[in-house]
């Protein structure tokens, strides 16, 4: 609140005296501006896709339906040519592009890539290719943020954070789900929970969603009907959907990435015609199953309203899965977000229908299964568990289905992870030669804590009542440089080997430490603290007492630099004589 007041106060005195805004305030203001700009661009993007869609596959002109199968091919090849000859920066997935900007290029995203994504994805999605606009919107948001960061001359540190802020705005505006957008950016783009930037991400996401709703209306992506969830025995069915969805999502990731890999091995000129082949295939499939064309939000809406028979749902899901994998592999511009939701919805609805044949006691509404399916497939492909749960919550605006979603999504992630270690974005990044971090990698590398390194002995601890000679004997036997001394309740000090020797030389060997020695205070540490925090303290103190958090005089152990080295697996080595032969020649 104070920050906002300060901003207004400074804005009111703008230009009269002193600097307008300092860096954190500029950053917050910038987050809102990014949200607004991203929202505006995404609104235009959405409208452009729709307009092109009306002109091409949904044309009202007589005879237009005969041209419909050709449009995806034309759109795909036009978009690919644009990428190839004009805007190569619009290539690839938006998530990986943004992550690369965060981790490798100090948040720099050329504005040309924003324009490129806008044009190419409008061409491909607007002509019926089965891709989604969310991932491109994410990249556009990140690109706008990067441009504004440069205009505002942000520091390098803030420039790295600015791209995810824009990404959240882009995806929030495209999908109309501000919470899911924030979580997706945290889980998938930043691959970490960064409390420092969370406020800015939320601000930008909310601003973008407000702008989007301002222009496009409050209408939600899907009209979710009233949901009924049956009794707890049906959780088994949801778990089964989770398992099937996880398995299918892993297969989708594996084979679409495999296809992409094979195509990437072709010469670039040869790849030019592949989006046309993919588009033509999509168009032909679309003649018989027009539901598979485009992003498919309306079809998901239909599935939620029990429009299709269960077998038709499964067929549509499979067709969409194959056509998406083909387009993704062939490099047709567009994102995987919408097709993933489509396949998940069809899978959930289809399996629900099948289950009701096998298990007539099933009483949940089809909408509940469709929503669970959406969450399951999303979780399996993107490995973003929090996003997948909150997205369903935001879509349905109901907590009723949350329990089944949580169970099914967890199972989907476990199954999918067992089959394919990485998410589809991570696999694509590897294929492109990028080594980007993922939240799963970070989870698999647990941070060491003080408890992992500390010595659970009292070898370095003495009372301040013992004599200097006893202390010297103890320090020499333990081969340490300092001893820890508890002087009062919870107050620790340290004394060095050199000081003890000096006291002995001065003839004070018989007197007690508290009378003779000057001892320096030392801070306590706790067993649950990350080891790197303790390491920073060890730069100042030779040893640290590890105490209980509730009783500071209760010593649990001690920690020295050598202990930290040991915990990290670093063994101290003497420099070798032949070491000089390594490195630049002395000659």
């Amino acid at each position: 609140m104070n920050t906002i007041r300060e901003i207004f106060a400074k804005l009111s005195t703008m230009g009269k005296s002193g600097p307008v805004l300092d860096e954190p305030q500029r950053f917050l203001l910038l987050s809102i501006i990014i949200g607004i700009f991203s929202g505006l661009v995404v609104v235009c993007f959405h409208i452009s896709i729709e307009l092109l869609n009306w002109i091409t596959i949904h044309s009202l002109a007589p005879g237009a339906k005969y041209l419909a199968p050709l449009w995806p091919a034309l759109g795909g090849v036009a978009a690919y040519l644009l990428v190839f000859f004009v805007v190569p920066t619009a290539r690839g997935t938006g998530v990986n592009y943004t992550k690369t900007a965060v981790y490798a290029s100090d948040g720099y995203i050329p504005f040309r890539s924003v324009l490129g994504k806008f044009a190419t994805c409008t061409l491909s999605i607007g002509t019926g290719n089965p891709m989604g606009p969310e991932d491109p919107a994410l990249q556009m948001g990140a690109g706008i943020a990067s441009l504004l960061g440069r205009i505002f001359h942000l520091t390098r540190e803030h420039m790295r954070l600015i791209a995810p802020i824009g990404a959240a705005a882009g995806i929030g505006a495209a999908f109309n789900t501000p919470i899911a957008a924030v979580l997706f950016v945290m889980e998938e783009v930043m691959s970490a929970w960064n409390a420092g930037v969370l406020g800015s991400i939320v601000l930008s996401s909310v601003s973008a969603v407000v702008v989007s709703r301002w222009f496009l209306g409050d209408e939600v992506l899907y009209q979710v009907p009233e949901i009924e969830v049956g009794d707890y025995s049906e959780l088994l069915l949801y778990a089964a959907i989770g398992a099937v969805g996880g398995w299918l999502s892993a297969l989708f990731c594996r084979y679409s990435i495999m296809l992409r890999g094979r195509i990437l091995k072709l010469r670039e000129r040869r790849r030019l015609w592949l989006p046309a082949v993919a588009g033509l295939t999509v168009g032909i499939v679309g003649m018989y199953a027009p539901e598979t064309l485009g992003a498919g939000y309306q079809v998901i809406d239909g599935a939620l309203h029990d429009r299709f028979a269960w077998n038709l749902l499964l067929v549509l899901g499979m067709l969409k899965l194959l056509s998406t994998a083909l387009c993704f592999g062939c490099g047709t511009p567009g994102g995987l977000f919408a097709p993933t939701l489509f396949v998940g919805a069809m899978l959930g609805g289809g399996l629900a229908g099948l289950a009701q044949l096998v298990w007539p006691l099933s009483t949940s509404s089809v909408a509940a299964y469709v929503l669970v399916g959406i969450g399951v497939f999303f979780a399996g492909v993107f490995r973003a568990p929090m996003t997948s749960v909150f997205m369903v919550f935001e879509l349905s605006a109901s907590y009723v289905v949350i329990l089944p979603v949580m169970i099914a999504n967890t199972i989907a992630i476990l199954v999918s992870r067992r089959m394919e270690h990485d998410s589809v974005f991570h696999m694509a990044a590897h294929q492109d030669g990028l080594d980007l971090p993922s939240i799963e990698d970070r989870r698999e590398t647990p941070a060491l804590t003080v408890e992992d390194a500390m010595q659970r002995t009292r070898d370095l601890v003495v009372s301040d009542r013992i004599s200097v000679s006893e202390a010297l004997e103890k320090i020499e036997s333990s081969n340490a440089d300092a001893l820890l001394v508890e002087v009062r309740y919870g107050q620790w000090r340290w004394v060095g080997k050199r000081e003890l020797r000096r006291a002995k030389d001065n003839g004070d060997e018989g007197s007690s430490l508290h009378r003779t020695m000057k001892m320096w205070p030392v801070v306590r540490t706790y067993p649950d603290l990350p080891l790197d925090q303790a390491l920073r303290k060890l730069a100042i103190y030779p040893a640290l007492p590890v105490t209980s958090r509730v009783n500071p005089s209760f010593l649990l152990g001690t920690l020295t630099l050598a202990d930290v080295h040991r915990a990290y697996g670093i063994t101290r080595q003497e420099p070798k004589a032949e070491a000089s032969s390594v490195g630049p020649s002395s000659a």
Partner: protein, 401 residues
């Protein structure tokens, strides 16, 4: 305004943009703070993009609306022609241009209903109803859907909301038609209590249609609303005294109300119009009741006294008949009967024993009471479907009233 320059390495403020940082000696990484000019420029561009997006969105919405209306118009025509499958397709197209347009969704629901795709219909209707719970048409469609699927409680509830809900156009006629539909539903499902309540409500807004009035009169008889049935048939007879059905209806209503003379008159009039065995039977029953009834006005005290004794006698016979399940008269000792019944029979026997006394009002009343007491004891033993003495049953019912 003073510009601010920051070293990007150590983040200390420095005086000049191209000077060396006095703290970390960095030169090439110096940033200029956000100046009002930059902010103004950014806001200016934002306003421009806002305007362009606004124009773009407005054109888009206009086109979307035109397309939606086009498909909706086609769908309405197809639905009117009975081409439900294509109407559904067109409604879906319309809906893809205006998801939030309730008319499109309602049209789709109607077409789906006609096409017997009830599950999807219900989803759309429930969606719409959550946005507009008092809509008459939505509740009506949901009521029809629930009735068709046998969910009668839901159907009745939806009908109730639809009757009191919001309608466009000729509201009163719609409400009346809905009530009539609800009455049909309640009649078919045998929910007589709810039916009676609905008939009472309908009595307040009785339609002019004579056919409907006949039907409602019959339903009133069925639900034992005899007063209302009688006055309804009476009003029909005022308009057309030769209405055979109304005569029979009024006769039946009066008969059930215990007005056997009026009932007989109505039956006789009906017989003049069309003679049949059922009417003759009814007239004969009326005659027997009238001849037995000691409370009938216009008869002498003596005759009343005689009838009251006959009443005791017939009540006694009927009691003994009912006591024996085989239908033969009871011939065993009275001690074998329940004590109350035995005592009532004993009273009856005493009243009938010896020569009849003097005919007085008190004697008539005492006899009637004895007969009533005996009949009340015997009634539970007698079969309701085939009572041993129908005129006696009716007279006793009248007396108890």
């Amino acid at each position: 305004m003073a510009k601010r320059y920051t070293c990007l390495v150590c983040r200390n403020e420095i005086a000049h943009p191209n000077a060396e940082c006095p703290y970390c000696k960095a030169r090439s990484v110096i940033a200029e703070g956000a100046s009002p000019r930059i902010l103004g420029m950014v806001f200016g561009v934002m306003a421009g993009v806002f305007a362009v997006t606004g124009f773009y969105a407005k054109s888009f919405k206009a086109e979307r609306s035109t397309r939606g209306q086009h498909h909706f118009g086609v769908a309405e025509e197809l639905l009117a022609e009975g081409d439900h499958a294509n109407a559904i397709k067109e409604y879906r197209n319309a809906l893809s241009y205006g998801k939030e347009e309730p008319d499109y969704r309602l049209g789709l629901a109607r077409a789906l209903f006609e096409n017997e795709r009830y599950a999807e219909t219900e989803n759309h209707l429930v969606d719409l109803r959550s946005q507009d719970p008092t809509s008459g048409i939505l509740n009506y469609l949901l009521a029809q859907l629930a009735a068709r699927e046998g969910r009668l409680d839901e159907a009745v509830s939806y009908y109730g909301t639809a009757i009191h809900g919001r309608w466009d156009g000729d509201t009163e006629e719609r409400r009346l038609n809905l009530r009539l539909e609800l009455v049909d539903l309640l009649e078919a499902s045998g929910r007589d209590e709810q039916l009676a309540a609905e008939l009472i409500a309908l009595g307040e807004i009785m339609p002019d249609d004579r056919g409907i009035q006949h039907k409602l009169g019959a339903l009133m008889l069925r639900t034992e609303l005899y007063d209302r049935a009688s006055s309804l048939f009476n009003s029909l007879l005022e308009a057309n005294p030769r209405d055979h059905e109304a005569l029979l209806g009024r006769g039946e209503a009066e008969f059930q109300l215990g007005n056997y003379l009026t009932a007989r008159t109505q039956y006789n009039r009906a017989k003049l119009l069309r003679d049949d065995d059922a009417i003759n039977e009814r007239i004969a029953l009326c005659n027997r009741i009238i001849e037995l009834d000691p409370t009938r006005r216009g008869i002498s005290l003596r005759e009343r006294f005689r009838r009251s004794r006959v009443l005791i006698e017939r009540a006694r016979s009927a009691t003994l008949m009912c006591q024996n399940p085989s239908g033969d008269a009871f011939v065993g000792p009275l001690a074998a009967l329940p004590p109350d019944l035995a005592s009532s029979l004993e009273n009856a026997d005493k009243a009938l024993a010896g020569r009849p006394g003097r005919a007085t009002d008190e004697a008539v009343e005492a006899n009637t009471l004895i007969a009533e007491e005996l009949w009340n004891q015997a009634k539970p033993l007698c079969s309701a479907s085939s009572p041993p003495d129908p005129p006696l049953v009716h007279v006793m019912a009248k007396l108890s009233r």
